[in-house]
Amino acid sequence: MKRANRTNGEIVFDWANNIFMLLICFITLYPIWYILINSFNEGSDAMLGGIFWWPREFTTENYQAVFANAGLMKSFGITIARTFIGTVTNVLFTAMVAYPLSKERLMGRKLYITMGTITMFFSGGLIPGFLLFKNLGLLDSFAVYIIPSLFNFFNLIIFVNFFKEIPSALEESASIDGANDILIFLRIILPLSKPVLATIALFTGVYHWNDYFSGVIYINNPDLQPVQTFLYRIVAESGSTQMMAAATNVVKTTTSLSIKLSTMVITTFPIICVYPFLQKYFVKGMLIGAVKE
């Protein structure tokens, strides 16, 4: 019924809008598709260019070369370890600190919140941070990935706003049964907070997975660099000896570019697989964070 009422102008608008949206989707997806097909193409053949829609000389050699490179594999290990440990510790620690702050009766609450809010708008900057890490002995140690990112005040606000919405009756009945606040937090609050835990875990996980800069400035030991740092070094120092060795020692047809592309695919793939399932959570999570305080 409504359809019949549409004016010509509206029909034109809808068409134009649909075409515009398809264009956006194409522009978004094509670069990713391009990396993918080129990473599955023979490296030396890809050098000739002209591969736009489909691999010309299909091969998995680039991936074999990546998996055969011990340095790269080690850096994948570092990335996986820091993402897992870093995410779990950050989410639990931040949630733990956030829970008391969601209670109005907490003494010193205002002071704590003010202390945190200041950190959102003012910081010591790169160098004082670097010097602190140096004094704490965090340089060139795996802990530099975990401890400095253990806590995040922005995420804390999201947690606080979420915890405030949980009906207090649940906690009250538990405290009558003699459970203390820590037990209530662990047994009642955390299980009820899955959506917000998933959101923060996604944000933190993506940070850890994609962070290359910590590896560049705080780490010298190549055994401790995460894969993004490894990739950064290939990109910044293209044609590095590390890479050329990787490219040539396995099979002749791979090039440093084709190795680069397949490494990009491998590093990006896990996140791309995960985020659509968490979409409804992070959209909500971002809103809770943005609405108040």
Binding site: F13, C25, Y99, F122, G129, L132, D181, I182
Partner: protein, 307 residues
């Protein structure tokens, strides 16, 4: 009297000992990782060398600030920092709003959701991957030149990242590509909160689509736009470090050296800790002032503010 109230206070504190036990580690963490570095700012006013502690170092007064302001690169660095941010603010800021409004006009819910999911995707790709890809694509033998030359748009390939004049535009385009969908989330949510009856009433009155967008949608999300705008203005001196760090090089340095990259270069590459800290402090202070101005202005104009 005094004693009993003190006792009561203590009793209250004791009754919430577990809550305090949970919150204190976070406060200690903030103290160490946020507040101790803030005291480290003192080296901006000193001549800090690694051989002595920052408290023993000689005072330098405002020497490092004066050096920065008279640095022959100062004008260039400020132009780049503000220029890139302004470009992103003027052109980049409205785009997610437009995208959100137009996406909201897509009626098929499933189609709309798919577009949304696709539009978030680039946000999850790291700058290292995107930067590496762009360096490859924009090179003389890269894919962009291949297409442009094949279509006859260019006579011969251009090495885009080797020429400063393309740099600002490239930062705008790559930033938009990466964050368009992600930045739109907040506006989409604001739009979804609008009462549908308002649109129906407007339809009965014979309003066109554009009129509905102009008179219902945009006024309804004005507050959200204001808050995001304050944050964008406050962040104007914060460049997208990762992006500029990856795409910048010696050849395009005239257009790509910004405060953040200069701090990194002076501080960690050249080991001039005091100088780099002074530049960083200058940036933080200006950013704080910008935040307060933007907050004040929007409060006056819109009645919406952060604090």
């Amino acid at each position: 009297m005094e004693k009993t109230s003190k006792k009561k206070l203590f009793e209250k504190l004791w009754s919430q000992k577990y809550l305090q036990l949970m919150v204190i580690p976070g406060i200690i963490w903030m103290f160490i990782f946020n507040y101790i570095p803030m005291t480290g700012i003192v080296i901006a006013f000193k001549d800090y060398k690694v051989t002595r502690t920052m408290w023993e170092a000689d005072w330098a007064g405002l020497e490092h600030f004066v050096e920065f302001f008279t640095d022959p690169k100062f004008f260039n660095i400020m132009t780049n920092t503000l220029g890139i941010s302004l470009l992103k603010l003027v052109i980049g800021f409205p785009l997610p709003i437009i995208f959100a409004i137009l996406l909201n006009e897509i009626k098929n819910a499933r189609y709309k959701r798919s577009i949304q999911t696709i539009s978030y995707l680039p946000h999850f790709i790291s700058w290292v991957v995107l930067g590496g890809l762009l360096i490859t694509w924009l090179s003389e033998t890269g894919m962009i030149n291949e297409v442009l030359v094949n279509f006859g748009i260019l006579d011969e390939p251009i090495s885009f990242l080797a020429d400063p004049k393309y740099f600002w535009g490239l930062t705008l385009i790559s930033d938009t590509w990466k964050e368009l969908g992600w930045s739109a989330i907040i506006y989409l949510a604001a739009i979804s909160g609008i009462d549908q009856q308002m649109y129906e009433a407007a339809s009965i009155d014979g309003a066109t689509k554009v009129q509905k967008i102009w008179h219902i949608t945009i006024p309804a999300i004005k507050g959200t736009i204001a808050v995001m705008f304050i944050l964008a203005v406050a962040g104007m001196l914060n460049s997208n470090f990762d992006q500029i760090f990856l795409l910048g090089n010696v050849l395009n340095a005239d257009a790509s050296q910004v405060i953040d990259t200069y701090v990194y270069e002076m501080g960690l590459r050249s080991g001039r800790y005091s100088y780099a800290t002074a530049i960083g402090l200058f940036k933080s202070v200006i950013a704080l002032i910008l935040l307060l101005i933007a907050n004040f202005t929007t409060k006056k104009l819109q009645g919406r503010s952060l604090f």
